[in-house]
Amino acid sequence: MKFDIIVAGVGGQGVLSVSAVIASAAMEEGLQVKQSEVHGMAQRGGAVLANLRLSDRPIASDLIAHGRASLVLGMEPLEVLRYLEYLAPDGTVITSIHAVKNIAEYPPLDDVLAAIRRLPHAVLIDGDTLAREAGSLRAVNMVMVGAASRVLPIRPETLEHFIATRFRSKGDQVVQQNLQAFRAGREAAAA
């Protein structure tokens, strides 16, 4: 079994947190993990990418090759388009539908979403609304982890355990918001 994931978003959206939660849970379930991140300049509002590779056998490369990713997980829809060349033909795209329009030449959002909908396996998630309903817009990352949990080779309970661990220092309310966000994302992706 191997499961390669591209997590795409914009600096400040928490791409690295998403990657870290999935990686910790995968390791807990005995999978081999390689997690490659972008630090430094790009984190200042630019395009941010994490490569996350899960396998039941040793993994050589930290980076994912073209056409091999089982999942492109988008925190932002335009960023998904940037990495489609990494997606396997039978791979899945799961993305939030909310745009971060910090560039002048952002194409019409409807066109971006329509292009993603035409892909063979695409799940579009109203991440911001679900996060707000869960109690905090900042929990949108965990909505997306919840949506991804539909295709990840990891049990949802294990993911929930690491979400609780990650936010424990911020108090019980934040933990509950993020767990709620995770469940809402998982629910939405089932529809």
């Binding site: 490659s36 630090h39 090759a65 388009l81 940037r82 489609l84 990494y86 396997a88 033909p89």
Partner: protein, 545 residues
């Protein structure tokens, strides 16, 4: 001991700690920053080792040398271009025969994710005639750093550990070994090896050259340099993380090539000869310059075909990827999913944060400059370099740490007026102060603008070596005329008066310094979060204007 999940950078840090590290020094620089971040966190929890940010890579290196002078183990870490700054102590440290282990961890940035060039530090190790380790994964980063201290003390040389971005910033599981205690304090058996007067330096240089055979034997016998049997007359040499991309693809080849992996230098010549006896065609894969590839061309008779970056099988620039290696091996790259419309999507370059004080400073500067036909605005390295991009387009150069000051002086010396230099507070403390001293000595007709946000922003908000409140004292202490030294608040409500001051100082024929102060938003956020977490009363974060 237990396993740990570590970034490549963190594996180097923990390897050094477990090797009995006494002290570690660095200046922040992507992709090396997390080495020191890890050490600072570890030191906060365990009370050792000593870990500190230094003014720049040269002072960091010299502080590390002092640790070795008294017999203890030191780590100095930096990004590749940081080694240019530290090149003077680095080259000479190879001569002094340190008896306390010295490891120089350098993180190269092939592909220039966060850098102004993609120089390959292996050339520096070769230049200084020392041993260089090039780990391929996080486990090797840990193990090799530990081994590097043994090699350093055994051969009495500094030893380099060369990382690249993709290893430095990728996380994996690392098996840890038993920690070793620190060395006892012990001055050198004789200090003449450290006194590089020509009479001593000639002797030390000869002694270093005489040890080269031992270094080659060590590297030649190291298990990190490995020959793996293949079939046929085709062979592949990999170095460092290139091995990962090779292994990712090799099973798709019809027959398995002979494979030589190089993980420690000097490159193992006898092993290379044994390898080349088996093959006629060699592909060299390196995440960096064609370093081994060039050595191979000089070693091999012309009947051999050597392929790599110099012959175009691998691009001469940029980082390796699983796909570029796949192509070099003659394998087809898998097609991803393609769509017709909207490709490629518009680029999303990094930019200043909403409300960043640098934005306010640039608006004021632009207003001042707009009042003249033409101005020179040199600048420097940091978040504020993003002021070169729209919507600001406010600066015209970014060359190396501190260059803005010297370049503005040069432009003024050549007769251009007005000349501005724009530099961040940490960059100024790193390498701008000496340039300003030159400008003070000549009372150069230029205006130095120091953007003082109280932090090293781009690398993740590390503390500057001196606080904001000391910048003005430092500038005045150099002898800048107090009438032409201003400290202003980089706040939108002061936009008009800041622009007026800049205009006035632009008109002044002589040296002016304008410090624009406001704390980085990231730092403000961090302080707020820390205050909330501790439940303490908020501390005033006012700028020091």
């Amino acid at each position: 001991m237990a396993d740990a999940v570590l970034l490549g950078d963190e594996a180097v840090a923990l390897g050094a700690i477990h090797a009995g590290l006494t002290a570690s020094y660095a200046y922040p620089g992507t992709p090396s920053t997390e080495i020191t971040e890890f050490l600072l966190g570890y030191a906060a929890r365990h009370g050792r080792p000593h870990a500190a940010w230094a003014s720049n890579e040269k002072t960091a290196f010299e502080e590390a040398l002092g640790v070795c002078f008294v017999g203890r183990r030191a780590l100095v870490s930096m990004k590749h271009v940081g080694l240019n700054v530290a090149a003077d102590p680095f080259m000479n440290a190879a001569l002094v025969a340190p008896h306390g282990g010295l490891v120089v961890a350098v993180a190269d940035d092939p592909g220039m994710h966060s850098s102004q060039n993609e120089q390959d530090s292996r050339y520096y190790a070769d230049f200084a005639r020392i041993v260089c380790f090039e780990p391929a994964d996080q486990q090797e980063a840990y193990d090799m750093t530990r081994e590097a201290y043994e090699v350093s003390e055994r051969f009495r040389i500094p030893v380099m550990v060369r990382l690249v971005t993709r290893l430095a910033h990728a996380r994996s599981i690392v098996r840890l070994g038993e920690p070793r205690p620190e060395n006892p304090l012990a001055k050198p058996p004789q200090t003449t090896s450290w006194i590089l007067l020509p009479v001593n330096a000639r002797r030390q240089w000869k002694a270093l050259l005489a040890r080269q055979g031992e270094l080659r034997d060590y590297a030649g016998g190291s298990p990190y340099n490995r020959l793996t049997e293949g079939s046929g007359r085709f062979g592949v040499i990999t170095t460092g993380i290139a091995r990962n991309y090779y292994l990712e693809n090799v099973d798709d080849l019809d027959s398995k090539p002979w494979h030589l992996h190089v993980g420690v230098y000097p490159a193992p010549t006898p092993l290379i000869r044994r390898f080349t006896e088996q093959v006629d065609r060699v592909l060299v894969l390196e995440d960096g310059y064609p370093f081994v590839e060039r050595q191979l061309r000089t070693l091999l008779p012309t009947r051999y075909t050597v392929m790599g970056r110099e012959t175009g099988e691998v691009s001469i620039d940029g980082e390796l990827t699983p796909d570029t290696v796949r192509q070099a091996l003659g394998l087809p790259v898998a097609a991803g999913v393609s769509i017709d419309a909207m490709m490629p999507p518009p680029a999303r370059p990094p930019q200043l944060c909403q409300g960043c004080p640098h934005g306010d400073s640039y608006r004021a500067l632009k207003e001042a400059v707009a009042s003249v036909d033409e101005a020179v605005v040199t600048s420097d390295i940091g978040c504020y370099t993003l002021g070169a991009l729209p919507p600001y387009s406010a600066i015209e150069s970014c060359v190396c740490m501190g260059a803005s000051v010297g370049m503005a002086k040069g432009a003024a010396d050549a007769g251009f007026h007005p000349a501005f230099a724009v530099i961040g507070d940490s960059t100024f403390l790193h390498s701008g102060v000496t340039g300003l001293m030159d400008a003070v000595a000549a009372n150069t007709d230029m205006t130095l603008v120091i953007l003082d946000n109280g932090t090293v922003g781009m690398t993740g908000a590390q503390p500057t070596v001196l606080p904001s409140s000391r910048i003005q004292t430092l500038v005045m202490g150099l002898g800048v005329d107090p009438d032409h030294c201003h400290v202003l608040s980089a706040h939108p409500r002061h936009a008009a008066e800041n622009a007026d001051v800049l205009k006035r100082e632009m008109a002044h024929h002589g040296l002016s310094v304008v410090v624009l102060v406001r704390e980085c938003l990231e730092v403000v956020r961090e302080h707020k979060a820390a205050t909330r977490a501790s439940g303490a009363q908020p501390v005033a974060q006012g700028a020091t204007s």
